[in-house]
């Protein structure tokens, strides 16, 4: 056996995380700000009031800055797949090929065509066509998110595929099973809708800055009115879709759910941890109390996971030991899964040898064993149950950061909406400061959500069938380390460029009404 280079795995993961997190600074603002500016232009279209055109155009300008700096940053992830994650790329190639090709074609043409009309076409097309172009630009951006999220959801719950041992690739058996898996649908809506909240926080924060500077009062108050309604809608719907995601995680990724809750010993009628401090250094097989202290909502985890207040929710120890009841029969222990994984892996090796030797009978027998145990193929790489457990504290705290900040934003938007409806917001500088200082919190909320999703599913690149250690390329850790720092420098420079251009445009403010400036 070749020992997996843990340092290589860590650097490859770190580089991917860095790139994805950087990419994710831009995407949610594109989606959220896109919706808000489209609503503003819709108001302009319906009312004919020029102030809404001016308002929409200013936010389109910031949308453009964000879009320009962020565009193509996701392509770097593709580079990394090919270089650092070649086993993974080969293994899943046929699953991702179709959705990503559709994304490339449809989204590119939608965005490239209509973004130009959105910026250059104010006086060249009718108001209706311009409005349609704005919505189609945002629609194209959202469609881009759809396909990459379908791909991500497939990695969390590999549905609609079959493994072909001849090519050593997963092949799509049902496009619709991949595209419409409940995991994909929940992930798409949760991700897109939560991005609306980030856009709303951004608009409310920047508008508050104008009020604090005693500038652009009407513009700022109008912008805030739209932003808080989008923000409230976004958070409420994010909770609905988040609940759906949680339900899917309970069913398909119980280890992730256990990590999110720091739950080592499950049971019936399990409570949802509202706040807690975990015991540092806690291991799955020791006798330490997992929590130094905790506050919980009784029986809520059981309800959220299974829609039954008294249902059983497995903890990490239950998942390790197995034996509890599931709809498919008694749960397997991790050791049993490792055994099955090893049978599957040995069968793949034997199939390969038998095929080369033209030994059809032996190949057929190996293939049968492979197919019977393929669901646990990835466990073959583990030496002990500990290898199958994610970083519990990181997932646990990231989940609480996301949920607590989401609650904070709901409260903030409701308060701002109240003050705004009573025409008091312009005279409430403390609330304007809160809005302004909350912009980074919106990004932290969004990033925390991805930490829960991606760290929570570790060690899997593809749930149950390919761990990250087997997914990486056989390259040197030093080369990945080098490119990690190259990216770090590149991303930092780009981020500084974005922030400086963005701040310059914010300081310049919306164009004056009598300027009639259509230039971009």
């Amino acid at each position: 056996m070749n020992q997996i280079d843990v340092s290589l795995v860590d650097w490859s993961r770190a580089q991917f995380a860095l790139t994805a997190m950087y990419h994710w600074l831009f995407v949610p603002l594109t989606l959220g700000l896109g919706l808000i500016m489209s609503i503003m232009e819709t108001i302009y279209y319906r009312t004919g009031d020029e102030k809404w055109k001016r308002t929409a155009k200013f936010w389109m300008k910031l949308f453009g800055v964000n879009f320009a700096v962020g565009v193509a940053t996701g392509i770097i992830l593709e580079f990394e797949f090919g270089t650092n994650w070649s086993n993974y790329s080969w293994f899943v190639g046929d699953i991702f090929g179709a959705p990503l090709a559709i994304e490339g074609i449809v989204a590119f043409f939608l965005e490239a065509t209509f973004i130009a009309v959105m910026y250059f076409g104010w006086t060249k097309v009718s108001k209706r066509f311009h409005l349609a172009s704005t919505w189609l630009t945002v629609g194209g951006a959202t469609l881009s998110a759809l396909w990459i999220l379908v791909a991500n959801a497939w990695m969390q719950y590999p549905a609609g595929m079959g493994f072909n041992p001849d090519t050593v690739r997963n092949e799509m058996e049902s496009f619709w099973a991949v595209a419409l898996s409940p995991m994909a649908i929940n992930k798409f809506f949760h991700t897109v809708i939560s991005s609306w909240t980030l856009g709303a926080a951004f608009v409310a924060g920047v508008s508050s800055w104008y009020l604090l500077k005693k500038r652009e009062k009407v513009f700022a108050l109008d912008s805030i009115k739209v932003a808080v309604l989008v923000g409230i809608t976004g958070i409420v719907l994010s909770w609905v879709t988040g609940d759906g995601s949680g339900n899917q995680v309970a069913e398909k990724q119980p280890m992730k759910l256990a990590a999110m809750e720091g739950l080592y010993d499950g049971g019936n009628g399990v409570g949802l941890v509202a706040a807690a401090i975990l015991t540092p250094g806690k291991q799955y097989n020791d006798s330490q109390d997992p929590y130094i202290f905790k506050i919980e909502f009784p029986k809520m985890l059981s309800f959220l996971a299974n829609r039954d207040f008294n249902s059983f929710v497995p903890g990490i120890n239950d998942l390790v030991k197995g034996g509890y009841s599931t709809p498919d029969g008694p749960a397997l222990s991790i050791d049993q899964k490792i055994e099955k994984g090893k049978i599957a892996r040995a069968a793949l090796a034997e199939y390969s040898v038998a095929k080369k030797a033209n030994d059809t009978e032996r190949a057929a027998d190996a293939k049968q064993r492979l197919e019977a145990n393929f669901d646990h193929f990835g466990y073959a790489y583990f030496n002990s149950p500990a290898d199958a457990i994610p970083n519990v504290p990181l997932v646990f705290y990231a989940f609480r950061v996301m949920v607590i900040l989401a609650g904070f934003f709901l409260l903030l938007f409701i308060v701002v909406w109240y003050y705004s409806a009573k025409n008091k917001f312009a005279n409430t500088p403390w609330l304007q400061w809160v809005c302004l200082l909350s912009i980074p919190l919106a990004y932290i909320t969004s990033q925390a959500g991805w930490i829960v999703a991606e760290v929570g599913r570790q060690p899997w690149a593809i749930q149950d069938i390919l761990p990250v250690g087997a997914a990486i390329s056989n390259i040197s850790a030093a080369s990945v380390k080098l490119t990690f720092f190259v990216f770090l420098i590149l991303f930092t420079v780009l981020l500084i460029a974005e922030l400086s251009i963005m701040l310059k445009q914010i300081k310049a403010g919306p164009e004056k009404i009598d300027e009639g400036n259509e230039g971009y």
């Binding site: 392509i75 580079f79 040995a346 793949l348 087997a470 490119t483 251009i501 400036n517 971009y520």
Partner: protein
């Protein structure tokens, strides 16, 4: 230019728009520099496709990945 009535008008809108760029100009410079760095430097020198750079045929690639998947362990 007046309202768009034909495809050439549509193209002219692009041309005119790019000619009259104001605040958008530095953004396009950033986009072009970024794409150059990404494809001409990073892709070309630091991110070769691992399998394509080592193997010519699909069979060779699948045999290599089979070996990788069946011989690795933590």
């Amino acid at each position: 230019m007046d309202r768009i009535r034909s495809f050439p008008d549509f193209i002219a809108m692009y041309v005119e728009g790019f000619k009259n760029l104001t605040w958008g100009k530095p953004l396009w410079i950033i986009i072009l520099v970024k794409l150059f760095i990404m494809f001409a430097i990073l892709r070309a020198f630091l991110f070769p496709n691992f399998l394509n750079s080592r193997f010519d045929t699909e069979t060779e690639k699948s045999e290599y990945v089979t070996k990788e998947l069946t011989t690795k362990s933590y």
